[in-house]
Symmetry: C2
Subunit: 336 residues, 2 copies
């Protein structure tokens, strides 16, 4: 493999920031000039390559042997994990527009709207650079599932199989409602010169949509506490602790960009012939099971697995055991 | 009836602002000094009296023959309506803490936390003033259902019957999550000197929780439009139009007070012996049917009706035909 200067090598991972071709034309108009794409390849070197893509907060570090908690999918992906990196080599990326090392908006700068097709195009250019003719699979959850579908529609010869968890061919209007409010909060706070506080609020709201009412009922039934002369509810403490953590690590401009990209996602499922395993979660408030069932009927070659999980839309991060059999199709035929 | 000076009379309604006893001690501590309570009594003068209480945006004007759209429950309550004001006389109030003529917080003032028990206590004092020994029923939906339950626990001799729609003995933690975010948005905007804009955002979020995903899927499936260089989604236009309307009519301080009061609501259902008809809506995102079923089992004398409605938590405002048989128990025995 011909490594570009920015690329690095450690005992278990190849990592780099790729200069994409000089101009990336975007699906919704406009283009990115000299865009960058952060990537990371880890797992057994001679194993089939699987791309793993998560929600808008995910990044190229899918799992990390040295610092396990830095991997966004560390409960599910790794050696002897549900997606076993002794049997597949995992490629991760920083999303265009996100808070990683890929090209992204900056404060008060102008940045075009990004489509899931644009992420797919950048990923395909990365495959060209890494000389990966064909992926064994793309495993995508949430926004990552949208990008997986967009990739298979545009580049059908470059991937054998999709595993799409909690993502459909377009966003549900109720989920768009919640995300629209989140974006308006961030923009309002930005107009007050306090964008990070807006991101805290938006993330707190997002957390409520990621989990299920049943989980919250079990965890947060206690009495409110009093603080500074007002009541604070247990669930409120939780949401805003998560919101603060998030605002410390992510950029408001990136949140706006990728949140919008979810709502702009719209692929033509009838044109996605790649064999696809769909995983729907009954308690998911953002991607109703009905939308996943409808997608399964539109895709020419799909199977649908329905799970129950109190973690709702976040089930892909938590339900390692339930997902393990789903990933078996990623391994070599002689190994499965 | 001995009308206080502030009271007025029109062809079809008595209306007034009552000076409550000099000091109202509050459930969560503190008190209100010389509180006021706005009220309105309308419907056939010799008919049994029914109190009608709605969500935190409701007020004393339940229905209005002169200006029908000013009545917050005009689709359901009125002459020959589902709750027929030719057969009952309807008493409405402005909630303490709200945006009507009752005592409420003012900008930058200190106002104590209000309980549903406090609303019940004020209502009981109004009954004393109006010399109403015993109500035929309290019909309460959303926050109004909480107040109805609190009233029956505290003043069991003053009401014969409860009809409680989409309200339980306490708030669900997921609903508290959404309301906590709404309150934080308003407080954040207040700290930026822009509280009304925070109220717009909070109300937009609230609207998404009031309706069902199915309703939004039917209404808002169209493409996003472009405006000022960014995409605006159909559901976003809807939510923020509603948010602006709301912010023009309601005070941020009142919203904070009553939103918190919902989350502080906690009654002892086992002590509510008043016969109670519960109405649960399967699509309600704020008050899950499971919570209404659990309440029905805790109440000594309850029946539960489960409805389906795309209007979700707002079904009580819209499902006039489905609610009509529920209200029949409010009429005189010889009339029903």
């Amino acid at each position: 493999m011909n490594l570009a200067p920015l690329e690095s090598f450690s005992a278990d991972a190849l990592e780099g920031v790729l200069h994409l071709p000089a101009r990336l034309s975007l699906h919704h108009g406009g283009s990115l000039t000299q865009p960058l794409l952060g990537w990371r390849l880890a797992g057994r070197a001679d194993a089939p390559i699987v791309v793993a893509l998560g929600g808008i907060s995910a990044h190229r570090r899918v799992f990390d042997l040295q610092q396990p908690r830095e991997g966004w999918w560390h409960e599910v992906v790794g050696p002897a994990h549900s997606l076993d990196t002794e049997r597949v080599r995992v490629l991760g990326i920083d999303y265009l527009g996100g808070s990683g090392q890929s090209s992204a908006p900056v404060a008060d700068g102008v940045f075009p709207s990004l489509s899931s097709y644009d992420q797919a195009q950048a990923l395909c250019q990365l495959l060209d650079h890494l000389k990966i003719a064909r992926l064994r699979a793309i495993v995508g959850a949430s926004y990552g599932g949208m990008v997986a579908l967009a990739f298979a529609e545009r580049f059908p010869t470059r991937v054998e199989k999709l595993i799409v968890i909690s993502a459909a061919d377009r966003a549900h209007p109720m989920a768009t409602a919640w995300r629209s409010v989140q974006r308006r909060i961030v923009r309002f706070a930005h107009s007050c010169g306090r964008a990070p506080e807006g991101l805290e609020l938006a993330r707190a709201l997002a957390m409520a949509t990621y989990r299920s009412p049943d989980e919250f009922a079990l965890r947060f039934g206690d009495q409110a506490r009093q603080s500074d002369g007002r009541f604070v509810f247990p669930v409120e403490d939780y949401l805003f602790a998560r919101g603060r953590d998030y605002a410390a690590r992510y950029r408001p401009e990136s949140f706006l960009c990728l949140s919008e990209s979810i709502d702009l996602h719209a692929v033509d499922a009838s044109r996605i012939a790649t064999p696809t395993d769909l995983v729907a979660v009954r308690e998911d408030q953002l991607v109703p099971v009905a939308d996943m069932r409808a997608l399964a009927l539109k895709l020419p070659c799909a199977r649908l697995l329905e799970l129950s999980s109190p973690h709702g839309h976040d089930a892909f991060l938590k339900e390692a055991a339930a997902l393990k059999p789903v990933f078996s199709s990623c391994y070599g035929v002689h190994e499965s």
